[in-house]
Structure formats: structure tokens, C-alpha cells
Symmetry: C2
Subunit: 612 residues, 2 copies
């Protein structure tokens, strides 16, 4: 697997702008994101002084720096997300508002290119003295915002700021210059993005250099000296090419691996391939929740020891789930294997989506898998990385739906709508999906090549799906999965119709026995959706005062009127006389009155009736 040849066969992502989402699940979320979430995040950035910090740094207004030293990043992330919404639909008023903010950012940049308002305003003498003070983290998010805004509007102002900043980094750091092991990864993947936008090779080379700096004792700062954290907290304990295990702060780790996947895509370094595959296995096999959540501990916002997956105290930062999607999307393109897109799906429908309310203006930073009733969505956080990550994640989900392969296209996510794609060799293919996914496993895919020709259409067979059927233009076709894809190679003509029927049964999920927290417990999943029991739907129950008996039948009911429309599960109580238990998708919890919630429920019996 870990050969350089494999890397060189990598797939290409597709711009989310080529994917028009028209379905009952995501379309309303995109609308809410644009109408509500962008607005609320911009207002919060204003109200909390995050935008004013730029004005202060620029000398345009007086006053002290407000908030945390990484607050610039939230402004950048909102700009990035807002730019994505502009790409989907123009909005002159929003664009004008962003232009004004961008002008403040531009003004805040120092003459040499430096930009991190905390240091400019509060402590210019401390620049570059503590590698964990998010100077390059802020810079990374600026770069991502700048590339997005340039692509959305064609305006170069912010991109110029970004290039000046990147060039400033390049002037200070690199081979023969100063060492730097950035405490919170982000700059690395941003620099690759900047390289892709500008074609300036120095940017990806700087990203590579920054990756290679890690794990050689160059790290300096407060964090490194705290014995309970140390260099592993920010993945500075081992050279990246030697990584075996996921460690430290979860978001940082995921951003690091995402960046490694980006860089190897350019560099082709086989050592990175091996490291990525090892750490992916270590992450998903031993350190991931059923929701796709990662990072169990509040202490380090990150990883602890293998199989440590407590439910009530699960940290599972929303950003970490989003970053898992970022990383796994890149892994999918790198290796062409569906198992990575499976996890993008897991995050889309569970671990990441749970971070935002249905109304789009309430958020979870922490996504536990159980709550006694005290965990609730709020409007904003002192450290508000999660809302601003959702702002850029949700509008761009179209990019996860397809990939261009060397010999055709791959369908990675089943989302109703339409896409204008190109195969890896540049041939145009229009694709339409009709589906009620994730509530139903039937997908009708219409393939319209610009010209009839031979190519491959790969359909991801989700990991949760065992049995499936396919017809092409009404004819049964035996196609077995390879690397998790059903590879339909044929002469495609305008209007060819693929009907894919995925069995979508309710699954009773059990943890590995090593997971102490879930011993004697089960979770219910249907398709990609993980379910939870919320007090709202079960007012007579007490937290942990009930037992589920999954061996009985489970009533599957689509309820268009409930919580934006979702499919519920209803299962008999194991206690005679008790009302049936009603479960809703985990992503939809805490959108009503407060109450307890559980994913992993105590199992009344785990008796296999028959001997076979």
C-alpha cells in the first residue's frame, strides 16, 4: 500500500461550486447557514471585538486588544465561509461588508508582512518567542480566507495580504533560517492551498519544511515546558515521517495529518504515506467514537490512551470532527479508497453536524455521547473556533460528493442534486442524483457525458452497507466492490441511468471489548445516522434508568414534521409496562427543551437465541 506509485495515481477533488445540492437534507442546511450562521458569526466577531482588534492593530482605533491571541482566526474563518456562500449565490451586501472587514485586515498588516493583531497591539516584543501562540495558525486561516475570497470575487486585496504574510514567513523561516514548530497546525495546509492558487512552489516547500521541523526538539514555549503536556500535545514529539500513533490536541493532530496528505500529494514522499496509513489506523481503530468524534479528554482537548472513549465526558470537539472530514477527504483522494470517504460521511451526518443547531445559531464546542441534561448549545464561545469552522465547512460540502479519477469519476457522497464534473483526463460529465439519502438507500444516478465514451463511474459502497443491487438502464449488473467502490466501467451515453439500492437496515452497534465505557451497551445506527435517546421523546425515563433490548424489532418512521424532518426509531422497552423508547438522530439532539441524552444504551440482554 505504501508505495510511491500509489500516491502518483491520486485522484483530484472537485470544486464544491460544481456541485449543486438540491435535496431535502442538505439544501435547507445550506440556506440556514447562509441566512443565519454567517450573520450570527459576523455579528459575534463584531460584538466581541474580534474585528475591532484589526482596527486597533492598524491604528485606526484606540483601545486594548480583546480576547484570546487566536481571535483573528475566527474573523478569517467567517470570511472564508462567507466567501463560499458567495460562490454559491452572489450577495452584494454581504460582499460589501466583507470588503470593509478585509480593508481593516489589510490595514493591520505590518510593513514587513507580519500579521497577528494580538502581538501587534499587546506584545510586539514577544513575536515569534512562543511557538504555541498561534501566529502562524492565524496566518493559515488568513490564507485560506484569502484564497476563498479571491475565488469568490476575483478581488486580490486579501490574497495580496496573504502572499505578503507567507513571504514574510518564508523570509524568516526555512532551511538555513530560523527553526519553527508551530504549536497549532493549520499553516501547512493553508500554504499548500496558497501554492495551488498562486502556483508559487515556495509555499508548498515552506509547508513541507514546517512539517519536517516537528519532532526534532525545536519547539519552544510555555506548552513544551509543562510536564503534563509537553511536545506531544502539539505533535512535536516525533518527526512526522515516523508517526505511529495519534497524540495530543485533537484538532491540531487532524490538521497535521491533513497537511501531510496535502504535501505528499505534491512531494510523493513514501515515508509520509506510511505514516499517514499508520496513524489513520491507530486513530480509527482505537481512538474514535461511533459518531466520528475524536479526542476524548477536556484536559488536553485531545487524545489519551487507546480505547479511552468515555461518553459523558467525551470532549469530541466540533472542530476535530470537521478536521477528521478534512483529513479523510484528502486520504480518499490520495489513496482512492472508500473507507476514507466513509468517515467523511460519518462526520457529515454525526460528529460534525451535531455541532450546529437546526436553527443555525446555536453551537456545541464539545459533543459528548451522553449527557445527564446539563450540556447545551450556546450562541458563541470565548474560544469560538467551532462556530467559525462550521461556517466554512457546511457551504463547501459539495466538494466531498465527487472526485475525478484518472479514468473517470467517483461518487463519494449520495446527495440529491446535480454536478458538472470532469474526469481526470478532462472529459466533461454531468451527473444528477435523485435520492432521499440519508433516510433511504436508493439512489438514481443519471450520467450525461458531453460525448458518449468509455470511462469509469465509481460508486462508494458505504461501509455500513452489506447487501446492494444495481441496475444500469434497468438491467441487473453484477459489480463487486474494489477498494470500497463499485466500479462501473462501460461506454457511457447521455441519459444512462444507474439505480443503486443500498440495504439500509437498523444496525445494533457494539464496541470493541476494550472500550470500558461501552461494555454491556449498544448503539443503534441506520445508514450513516447514529441515533440517540433524548429525554424529550422519553419523558418517563430517567438517565441510565432504562435498558434497551435490541433483539426485538425496531419501528422505522420518517417524520417530516419533526426537527426539520428526520427518521426516528422506536423500540420496545425491555421492562414490561414501560413505554417504547423513541430515538432520534444524534445530530438533532438538544434542539428542544433540555434533558438527558444517550447514544450507548445499557443492553437488557445480549443473548443469542440460537446456537448457530
Amino acid at each position: 500500500m505504501s508505495t510511491i506509485e500509489q500516491v502518483q495515481k491520486h485522484w483530484q477533488g472537485v470544486p464544491f461550486t460544481s456541485v449543486e445540492i438540491q435535496d431535502a437534507f442538505w439544501r435547507p442546511r445550506l440556506e440556514v447557514l447562509k441566512k443565519t450562521t454567517v450573520r450570527t458569526c459576523l455579528d459575534q466577531c463584531e460584538a466581541t471585538g474580534r474585528i475591532a482588534n484589526f482596527s486597533k492593530a492598524a491604528g485606526l482605533m484606540d483601545g486594548e486588544y480583546e480576547g484570546m491571541y487566536y481571535n483573528d482566526s475566527d474573523v478569517y474563518k467567517v470570511i472564508e465561509g462567507a466567501a463560499y456562500t458567495l460562490m454559491l449565490e452572489r450577495d452584494d451586501k454581504l460582499e460589501a461588508e466583507l470588503d470593509m472587514i478585509i480593508e481593516k485586515i489589510r490595514a493591520a498588516q505590518e510593513p514587513d508582512g507580519y500579521l497577528s493583531t494580538y502581538f501587534t497591539v499587546c506584545a510586539p516584543e514577544l513575536k515569534w518567542s512562543d511557538m504555541e501562540k498561534h501566529e502562524m495558525y492565524n496566518g493559515g486561516h488568513l490564507i485560506e480566507a484569502a484564497v476563498a475570497y479571491f475565488e469568490a470575487t476575483g478581488k486580490r486585496a486579501l490574497l495580496d495580504v496573504a502572499c505578503r504574510l507567507a513571504d514574510h514567513y518564508d523570509s524568516l523561516f526555512g532551511p538555513g533560517k530560523r527553526h519553527w514548530a508551530e504549536g497549532h497546525e493549520e499553516i501547512e495546509l493553508a500554504l499548500v492551498k496558497l501554492y495551488q492558487a498562486t502556483k508559487q512552489e515556495r509555499y508548498w516547500k515552506l509547508a513541507l519544511w514546517l512539517l519536517e521541523e516537528r519532532g526534532h526538539g525545536h519547539g519552544q514555549g510555555e506548552i513544551w515546558n509543562k510536564p503534563e503536556w509537553g511536545p506531544a500535545y502539539c505533535q512535536d514529539d516525533i518527526p512526522v515521517r515516523e508517526i505511529e500513533r495519534v497524540t495530543g490536541h485533537a484538532v491540531r493532530a487532524m490538521y497535521l495529518y491533513a497537511a501531510m496528505a496535502d504535501v505528499v500529494n505534491v512531494s510523493g514522499d513514501p515515508a509520509y504515506v506510511g505514516a499517514l496509513q499508520r496513524v489513520w489506523s491507530h486513530t480509527v481503530e482505537r481512538n474514535m467514537y461511533v459518531t466520528g468524534g475524536v479526542g476524548p479528554s477536556v484536559h488536553n482537548e485531545g487524545f489519551t490512551h487507546d480505547y479511552d472513549l468515555p461518553n459523558e465526558s467525551a470532549y469530541c470537539e466540533t472542530c476535530a470532527a470537521i478536521a477528521m472530514a478534512f483529513w479523510n477527504h484528502r486520504m480518499n483522494l490520495l489513496f482512492g479508497e472508500a473507507k476514507y470517504a466513509d468517515l467523511v460521511e460519518t462526520e457529515l451526518y454525526n460528529g460534525a453536524l451535531s455541532g450546529i443547531s437546526l436553527s443555525g445559531d446555536r453551537f456545541f464546542y464539545v459533543n459528548p455521547l451522553a449527557s445527564q441534561g446539563a450540556h447545551h448549545r450556546v450562541e458563541w464561545f470565548h474560544t469560538s473556533c467551532c462556530p467559525t469552522n462550521l461556517v466554512r465547512f457546511i457551504p463547501s460540502i459539495g466538494q466531498y460528493a465527487y472526485a475525478a479519477t484518472s479514468d473517470g469519476i467517483a461518487v463519494n457522497q449520495y446527495v440529491g442534486g446535480h454536478a458538472d464534473l470532469e474526469t481526470g483526463c478532462g472529459k466533461k460529465v454531468e451527473v444528477t442524483q435523485k435520492t432521499n439519502y440519508p433516510w433511504d438507500g436508493t439512489i438514481e444516478l443519471t450520467v450525461n457525458p458531453e460525448q458518449a465514451r468509455d470511462f469509469s463511474v465509481r460508486l462508494r459502497l458505504p461501509g455500513w452497507c452489506k447487501g446492494y443491487r444495481i441496475t444500469i438502464n434497468g438491467e441487473q449488473t453484477v459489480i463487486l466492490p474494489k477498494n470500497g467502490y463499485l466500479d462501473l466501467r462501460r461506454h457511457w451515453s447521455q441519459g444512462d441511468i444507474v439505480l443503486l439500492e443500498l440495504d439500509m437496515p437498523v444496525e445494533v452497534v457494539r464496541s470493541r471489548p476494550e472500550v470500558d465505557a461501552n461494555r454491556g451497551r449498544v448503539a443503534l445506527q441506520r445508514g450513516p445516522i447514529v441515533y440517540c435517546l433524548e429525554q424529550q421523546d422519553n419523558p418517563d425515563l430517567s438517565y441510565d434508568g432504562f435498558k434497551i433490548s435490541p433483539s426485538g424489532g425496531i419501528y422505522v418512521e420518517h417524520r417530516p414534521e419533526l426537527l426539520g424532518g428526520l427518521t426516528t426509531l422506536t423500540v420496545n422497552s425491555a421492562q414490561p409496562g414501560e413505554k417504547p423508547y423513541r430515538l432520534i438522530p444524534y445530530y438533532a439532539w438538544d434542539n428542544r427543551q433540555p434533558g438527558f441524552m444517550q447514544i450507548w444504551m445499557t443492553e437488557a440482554d445480549n443473548k443469542q437465541l440460537y446456537s448457530h
Copy 2:
């Protein structure tokens, strides 16, 4: 559970003649049974001297007795089965042929009522000297045939023979008369049937007495003295009300429990209830194959020790599978629980059905779960109980589809067609099922009560089904299972339509760890159908030289042209480069060229990818 009250709430069976089967699965089998199987069995009874034995006993012809001492029973069973086909469709020629045979039987009955041609012809002095010589076993099958033929034709000739025989038994055996522990159970359930047909209480009381005789040291004969068999072989080791464990010869054990369920239905003895529940659990939890097959050992045609379920050497006599259906049908009526009807289904589609070829004229006596290629269907057996059991089992399967409950009806099996039913309180209800079961889990049920009224329609939720949906007249209705049934209680009107959608995913089945034979192996099941890998479809494979990797996807394909029309499963080989494995339903194996077969396949990996 084991209260007398429960027994008194028992359900009523429905005559199979009230159920018209019109579907793609069973209808062709009923046709083949009538056209081919009845014919071939009659011809074989003729050719092997089984019918001539009656003429010889009657003094109508000369010659020695031919075959085994229980050969009379095959003739009776063919008459019974043929009578069932007459009930479904008149056939004067067949009826005339049966009348001629019946005349020979009548002539063979001795003046005092005794009838067992072996003893009449060969050894009259040995009558009633060895309790294992099937005298009452033969008599039981005569009684069942007589009741069936009377119901089919209204002709009393055979019923009169049966009553004279039963009265003869009653004159010899019973309280204060001779002891008798019949070596092969069958007479007991036959006597209950005779009681139901004639309303003569002495018949069920004699059945009860015969059951109560067991386990008190009354057994005498060759078998009892063989140390390796002893009284447990024919369930004479323990009084029936104390039974805890399934023992001995499998068919005999099943017939015993079926008879106990019959008798308790009349007697209401709670000790029988407890014994039946205990022995049922012991049978299915520790001594049943995934096909529903029971009795692993050729040595005693029966049970050995718990979890002894070898595959290649599995005996699993066809008669034992049929008898499991008999017993479980009675358990279902007695306790009103779907888990028993689940096992009727298992036998219908697997363990019993495998006993007959698609052509209807080749049979398995032994139904192993794996074969290296030497196990094949044949036309007849020296001991030919299995073909003649199939002759009476298949035409009467309509009886398993429904039951009358005190408050309505229960739908136990999903079979397309039409039924004229009565609720337990005598109200008429016509029911129509439209379904492609067992290949599809969607069932449309039309309920037509003679008059609109409140009653209950219970739908069995099969044990293999987790998720399901129901609409009544198009409206979603949350109904949770109780005792395995979805109990639809409402005001039913003409033309009410229930749409039941059962998730029917492919299931990867694993044995309990105690089953040595299946360690490291998995089986595939979809709906009620257990699959097998047959060499025919996989010519490149060698027996046990392959490994299945069930974590990949499984292509589900309905093939109307293959083996009478069935759904196949295709799954990737775990060995790179090998062709995919193709599986067919187990019941359909050995209907083409010889070759190996496996149900439990070695698993390439059993790795749970994710930690949760």
C-alpha cells in the same frame, strides 16, 4: 410463562384448505408435489412391495414380507399427502388409485383391529413384544392418513380402520391394562387428531396415557438393552413432565414434543408447559443448526451433547426438520409467540425444503451443512420416511400461514395468496397477501372482514428482521412488537390495506463460541434464507480452500432463470485475483452437477475496523 392460564388462551390453527397459495415461490412447489412427488412415492411404494405387504397380510397374495417393519407407514404417509392434494384440487384418477390401496389396507386389518403387516405376515407371535418395533408408529400414520382421506373425500373406509385400530390399542393398553412406551413416537399426536376428527375423548386420553407411560421403566425391547442407546434414545429415560433436555433420536423427540403440545392443549397440565418451554430452549439454544436442522449424529439419528454441531457429518434428517415445524407450529398456537413461527419459517425455507429436489423426485434423507461432493439426492431410500414426510408436509403448508386468535387473526407466514379465515370468536375475515417473499420484505395485506368491526390482526415480525415500517391505508402507524407480533387492533373495514415493509438485509451469521465446528467461520443469511457456496457456481474453488471476507459488500441479485428462480449473493474473494464467490440458497443445492457445498465458510478476517 408456565401457567395454566396461558395455555387456556391458546390460539387455533386454520385448515390449510382455507389458504389459497398464489405466489412465485410455493405455488410451483405445490404443483410439482402434486404432479411428481405424489406419483413417484406411490410408484416406489408399489415397486418396493410396501403396498403388496398389505395384500400379503390380507391373504390376497402370496409371498414374503418385503422391507422394514415400519414400511406400512410410508404407504399411509403417501395417502395422507395425496389426500391433502385432493383437498386442494380434486383428482378422480388419483382418488380411485388410493381407494384401491385403502381396500388392501382394510383387508390387512386383523379381526381384533390389529394392523401392522410385518407382524401379521412374519411374526404374529412377536406382536407387542418389543416396544421399538413401530407397531403404534405405523398405527399413528394410519390414523393421520385416515383423518386426511376422510376430510378430503368424505369416505369413511380408512377412518373406520383407524378407529378399529385405536380401539384395539385402547382395549390392550391404558390404566389397569398393559404398559406401553412406544419406541417411535407418532401415535400420540395421531390419537389427538383422531379425537379432533371423531370427538371421542378416549383417543386423547389414550395419547395422554401413552405420554405418561414414558420414563417409568416400562420400556422393553432390543433398543433398551443396548448400552450405547438405552431408554434415552426413544425418550423413555425420564417422565415427560420432567423433561429438561432434548435427547435421543431426533424425529422421535420432535414428535414427542409435538404430541405433548397437542395433549396440553386439551389437558391444560402446567407441568407439560414447563417441560415444553425447557426442552425448546435446550433444543434451539444449544442443539440446532442455522438451517433449523436438528440431530447431528448418524449414530443415533439424533442428539449428542450440547453445541455438537459438526457440518460435514451433520445428520439433520429431513423428517426431523419437518417435525420441528410440526412442533413449533403447535408451540406457536399454544403460547401465541412468534418465535415459534420463526422456526416454522426456518424449516420451510431451509432445513425441510432442502430435503426435496426442485424436480420433486429426488430426496435427501440427511442434510449436511457441508459436503466435499459425495452427498447427493436419490430417488428413494430403503428407509424412506423422508420422501413420504415431504409428501404430506408440502401440500399442507397453508396451515402455517395464519392462526385464529381469541380476538382476531395472526399472520404467521408471508405467502402470496388469499385466505378465508375466522377469528377465534367466529367472525369471518378474508385476507389477501401480495408479496415477493422470501426474496423481498414488502407485504401488502388486504383485510376484508365480512362486516366492519374491531378486531386484532397480528403480523409476525420475523426474528431476523430488525427495522420495519407499517402503513395502514397509507398512514404511518407506530406499532411495536409484542411476543414477536405487531398487533394491529382497530376497526377493520372491507378493503383496508396494510403495507408492511421488513428490512431484509444480508446478515453475517456467527455461531456461539461454544460451537467448535464454526469457529472462525461465518454463514450468510438474507431474510429467512440461509445461503451456501456450491462448487457449480464457483468452479475455480476447492473445498475449504477459500476464505470469505464478509466485511465487503454483497451483491444481491434475483435470477428468475436460475434453479426455479432465486436470489443469489455474490461476494468478493478475500484472496486477490480470485473470482467473486457466488452463493445460492441452501435449499437449492445439489440440483445440478455434483460438487462441494459449504454453509459455514472460513472467514478471512473478523476485524472490527472502528473502535466503537
